[in-house]
Each structure stands twice: as C-alpha cells, then as structure tokens.
Symmetry: C2
C-alpha cells in the first residue's frame, strides 16, 4: 500500500510518526508532501521550518519539549548576529539548525531543486518516509494585516500626502513568530503559488496512492498552501481522509484559531471540515476523522467518523492513523 | 601624522595593537591595509581570516591563547556540518566567527564592496584603526604543489592515458590548514591580482601617509599578495619600513619558513630583507628593523636597525613601532 500524507510542521511530524509505525506493520510506503509556505530566507539562509520539523522529528533529532528545532540546541550564532545588529532578531535560529540551512542554501545556490536537497539532508536523518516539498518553486505565505502606519510612510499617508494603503502584507514568519499571530490577519496570500508546479515526485506519489491523509495540521497556513500548488488538487484521485486539528473547539497546538478567524471559519471540527469541503461538491474530503468529543459533527457529503485524536505517543497516533485509513476504505 | 600598515592576520593584528598605542599617544591616524589572499568561500560563506584576526584582536574579541578566532568560541555548527558530510571538514569554523561570515556574505551578496562590509563589521568592534582590505576584488592565494595523482585522474595520468600534469594548485587555506603546509609548495599564485584594483580608500591613505610600516607578517603569503594588487606598489611614496618576521633564523609564529623555501629565500632577517629589496633597486624598503640578535644583518641599499622584536605585550610592541617610525624618520 502507498500512503500519501499532506502535512505541515510540528503536528504533521507527530502524525507522520504514527503513519510510519502503521506502514512498518503493513509493509506500506509513505510519502509526505510537506508545506513550504512557511519557508523564508533570513540572514541569507533558506529556512524550511515544516520540512525540518518533520525531518528532525522522524529522524530523532527534534527537541521534544520545545516542540520545534533541534534537541540540545544552542544559540551562539543568533546572539552574535544580534550583537552585529543584523535583522531580524526575532527568529529562533539555533546553531544546530543553522547547519541544516547552510547545507540547504549551498545546494540550492548550486542549482539543486528543494526536493533533491531534502533528499540529501534525509540521508543523514533517515526519516523512514519519503519527504517531498509540495513544490520546488518558491511559494511563500504572506499575511495581509492592518498597516499601523508607523514610520514616515505612515505619517505621510495619515496626512493624506501619499496614497497610503491601510493594509500591508508581511511574511508568515514575521506574523507568526515576531507578532505571535496577534495582529489580526485579513487574509493569507500564497505568493508564487499560481505559477508553481508540484515538486519532482509529488504527482507520481499521488498517482500511486491508495489513500491520501490530511494531517491534523493548520488548515489555513499548512494544508491550503500545499493545495494551492498548481496541479496538486487535480491529482488527488485516491480517497482523501482528513484528521481534524481542532478538538472540542480549540486547536490541539499552535494558533490555528487566529488563522481560521481570517477565513471566517469557526474554530471547530465542523468548521474545518466544512472549510475543506466534500469532494463531491468540489472540495477536498471523502472522509473526516474527528475527536470522540466531536462525534456529533457532520459535514455535508463527507463520511465523518470519530476517534480519540490526542497524539500522546506513537501508539496512540498509530491508532488514529488506522482509524483514518479505515475511513479511506483501505 | 598618518601611518599606514601593510598587515596579514595574527602577527599583523598584534603589531597593529602596538601601532594603535603609539598613535593614541601622538594623535596619529592609522590605516591598516590588510591581506585578502587568505580569503575563501566555504559552506557558502565568505571568510576573511586576516581581516577578522585584526578586527577581533583590536576589538578585544580574539582568543588570546589559540591565537586565532573568537574568545569563548564553540563549534556546534561545524560538528553538524560534519554530521551532514558537508565538505570541507578541516576548516576551523567557529559558531561566533560564523556570524561574522553570515553578515559579510549577506552584505557582499547585496552588492556592497568588501571595504564597506568591513567598515560595517567594525562599527561593532571599534578597532581604533581604519581597516581596509587591500582590494575589493577577489584575489586568492593558491599554492602549486606536486600532484600526488591519487584518484582516477591520477591513475589515468600515471598510465599515460591522459596528459596529467604533475602539479596542481590548491587554495592557500587547504595547504595551510588542511595540510599544515606539509606539502612542499612549488610556488604561490595570487589569482585575480593582475586585474585587481586597490580597495576604496587605499590609494588615498597611501597618498596621505607619512610612513608605511610593513608588519612582521608572512612576507610570501601575507605581504606579497597586498603588493600584487594593481597600483599599490606605485602608490608607496612615503618612507617604507619593514619589521622582520624572522628572529634568529626562525619565524616568530606561523610557518613562514615553509613559504620562504618555495621562493628560494633563506629563513632569516637578511633573507626576507633581501626578498623585499631596496626601494632604490626597485624593491620595497627604505628601512628594515631586525631583532637585536640579528643586529649584524645588512640589506644592500636599505637602512637596517635593530630592536628587541618580541611582541610580548602592547608596551613592548609599541616600542618596536616607535623604533620603526624612527627608521622612517618621522
């Protein structure tokens, strides 16, 4: 059996550990198609937070307490960059993590596509599943927020001297990490998505898939940018089953509520299920797995099943995966 | 008074601390024109060992025991790069040091010349002298060595299948750091020197100089690549006084003996003085300061004076500088 998982970072990584466990039992192949919308270039380094979260977690190198970055991380380079006044200072750039970005940046500069770079990095980490970026093209999530009109430009706009817009777009990382998602998001823009193509191997994996699982990742900024890559939606021919990232009206982790508000979607299993929509109505899902506490949820046109969705450990996560595969009928 | 110092890395940095002390007493200005021949791009980072040695030393950030790199240095990124199998692994890339290279690389990529980048880095370090790279162009010292003809190319050459040369050129850092200068050097090539121009500010500093001091740096791989930059030799109109890097037939530090052998020059104060040569005979020097143990040295056409040349501390180094300035007649 071949399972394809659409995944974001930390939640996706945890879920994939369960998928890997199930695949090992059944001798299945797993391909993770990972969001690149969070990717950013800082200090000249190309940083792919979601790919790295998955790679480190599955490779045993992730920090289990902090939830992101490397185990035993240190922050010497970041402190030094700050001493130089090098911006930005708000991004958590660890020393161990930085080596990954150096290797990646060097390979990208040499002309390798991100999929090949990811494969090269994985020769060290041996994640046990095939990791593919959604696209080898540059697709970056930007967040449209109210312009606070600070600075000279803002002053001029307030004074009516220039046609200052009242909104501005900032990179997702700036919104998420620097502002802790506290600036109300008007909307999300996946810059470059329209012209993008799936990364090498993505369409082949989807064509060979017996089931596509949508990890309990952030639907708005992790899954949507994957689906925004040209050609991926149309290639979803296998049954698609999503696992709800919302349990009892709250995100399992992260700040999905802030993102859902921007797309006028209720922060609930029903809300996210409806946002994804039924395949029969032009949406994504054949099946939707919700937590037992959300067992009464319905999504028109979608088979909804419930299961304990708390990913406490690999065993409980594997049970979730088995339940999702069962909904997929495989 | 305006003093210009031609300098390499560690020896040059120590010497410059003495020059700065003397300049502070006399209210003089100091410009250091620093070798860039050791510069190298590794892991996508532009590394300028001599500029950094001077900057860290004068800025109080150098490791006094190791003699190079940063005080309190750690090596996390290097260990991680090695875990990825990223070559080369032989270069001592410290975490603190790396931040400097990141800032530099980013600015160079943005189009700033190395002189502007150096000035920006120095706003943090406040070295107290003006630091200029000899050139903003890329000039790199390569070392011609015997080809050991290892690998398939070598095999083919030995078998007479391809016209394999018996020599190859490697970057200075590979020869110096990786091979500890143990491969006999046939000659040194300053790649790019012919087409290079002095960095912004160098010619102006030389034109304004009351004296030019040649630091007790490696004559072959630190001073020669500065002089190889187009236009610098011709701009030396002020009196030029060199300070011998050789005391009693041995280099004060480093492996100058290995370099001098490659240019068929005796490792002695007389040998290096002769290598630099008298200005009256088309050479570099008006004066040559040697150690008291070398007081009997003569260099045809050059005023030779002796002084205790051991740079034990800033005071003893300042005394050397005063003696050199006296030879220069200023």
């Amino acid at each position: 059996m071949h399972i394809v998982v659409l995944a974001g970072g930390i939640g996706g990584a945890k879920f994939l550990a369960g998928v890997r466990a199930v695949a090992r039992e059944s001798g299945s192949e797993v391909t993770a198609v990972v969001n690149v919308g969070d990717d950013v270039t800082l200090h000249g380094l190309r940083i792919c937070p979601d790919l790295d979260s998955v790679m480190y977690t599955l490779g045993g190198g992730a920090d289990p307490e902090r939830g992101w970055g490397r185990r035993g991380e240190t922050w010497t380079v970041k402190e030094e960059l700050t001493a130089y006044g090098a911006e930005p200072t708000w991004f958590g750039l660890g020393d161990r993590d930085l080596a990954t970005h150096l290797v990646r940046t060097r390979m990208l500069d040499a002309g390798y596509p991100l999929s090949a770079v990811t494969e090269a990095l994985c020769t060290r980490w041996q994640p046990g599943v095939r990791l593919l970026p959604a696209t080898d093209d540059r697709v970056e999530t930007h967040v449209v927020v109210e312009d606070d009109r600070s600075g000279p430009q803002g002053e001029a706009a307030r004074a009516g001297l220039v046609a200052g817009g009242s909104q501005k777009a900032i990179h997702f990382q700036e919104w998420w990490v620097r502002h802790r998602a506290a600036l109300p998001a008007k909307r999300f823009v996946f810059v470059g998505a329209e012209a993008s193509k799936p990364a090498a191997g993505v369409l082949e994996a989807l064509a060979a898939a017996d089931a596509v699982l949508v990890a309990p990742s952030n639907p708005v900024v992790s899954i949507a940018p994957i689906l925004a890559v040209g050609g991926i939606r149309d290639a979803l021919t296998a049954p698609v089953v999503g696992v709800s990232p919302i349990i009892g009206g709250a995100p399992v982790r992260g700040m999905a509520d802030k993102c859902l508000a921007a797309v006028q979607t209720e922060c609930s299993a029903a809300g996210v299920g409806g946002l994804y929509g039924a395949r029969s109505a032009g949406g994504l899902l054949d099946g939707w797995l919700v937590d037992t506490s959300d067992a009464d949820v319905t999504v028109p046109g979608v088979t909804v099943r419930s299961h304990d969705l708390w990913m406490r450990d690999e065993a409980s996560t594997a049970a979730i995966v088995r339940a999702a595969l069962e909904v997929a009928g495989v």
